[in-house]
Amino acid sequence: MDDYKNKSGCEINKGNSRRFWKELAKGVVISNPVFILTLGLCPVLAITSSITNALGMSAGVIFVLLCSNIMISSIRKATPLMVRIPVFIVVIATFVTIFSLLFEAYFPPLHKSLGIYLPLIVVNCIILGRAEVFASKNSVVLSAADALGIGFGFTIALIMISFLRETLGTGSVEIFGRQLFKLPGLSVHPLTFFISPPGAFLVIGILLALFRWIGVIRGE
């Protein structure tokens, strides 16, 4: 796990010359926060029992990541090195509060089903990690690109996991109340194991192994 982190950290530090799109693509594929860096796993396991929840959570992470990256990167020269972590945390917590209030106003049912996992975005290692590794050292534009890339990577991972869990666990897939499809046999006798907590551990364990396996094949 640590090896992966270091590798991606170095790669990112190399480049001021890298372009916006390159940063964006890197977050999605090469340093996918969930499958490759295995960061911020708590919400990933907790809210992936339905795609709707996963989309709500992703929106929160992208919003907070983008705003905090832009903010931290624009105040990076004024922030003393000694107190940078508390500053980052306060900036992140402020944006999480803003998002939580907005969400409560416009999507009350979703806000309720995300519960304490929405405020817990504050301690999500992805966001503090990007602030420390990237936004505190790079320009505003690059930091925004990095935030979007990592955010989209997170979203894709969340959608993959929740799609698997919702399909197997309920036999049908719904997005914001609209049914996408329904499997004939599985919806009558759904494998409810997959939407329960142990199912979350199992699905992510298998997906992690799959990504490692693909990495091993490509590496050799």
Binding site: C42, V123, F201, G205, A209, L210
Partner: protein, 191 residues
Amino acid sequence: MNNLLTIFIAMVIVNNMVLSKFLGLCPFFGVSKKLSNAFSMGIAVTLVMLIASVSTSAIYNYILVPYKVEFMNIVIYILVIASLVQIVELIIKRTNIILYNALGIYLPLITTNCAVLGITLINSAENYSILESTVSALGAGIGFTLVLIIMSGIREKLDLADSPKSMRGLPVAFLTAALLALAFIGFNGMV
């Protein structure tokens, strides 16, 4: 008294922090490779959870609720936890250097441990009084330590097993956690 006991047992076993609420997964997978480290981490987290819950629930009940500024809880709690961790670290360093050496590297990590912020947020979401918050934090801490110790016992053995290359490390740890969580689901009807 009965109510307190229910909260305690629910927090230790039924609503276990790690296995049913998925909080504190980073230390759960990161520090569960050796039994001795797991025990130290569990104790440190329990300690911080207890102190953090007492102080945040006091702040919640006597400052945030009377002045109707509950929405500020995220910012305030994270600041309280971050400064508490620093203070606890300082106190342990001055008073018990052996404990400090054992816990040393884990203490700063606890600031960003979602289990600590999680338990304070759960306490205020449930409108627990200070006493109830203390009991629920103690239960959550003990539950966390229990699962961490079980997991590290299993992983010490698992290291010797000959598993496929892509399964080694984290993936197989997740599968172990899945089985462990399945066992804990058996307690569901208890409370």
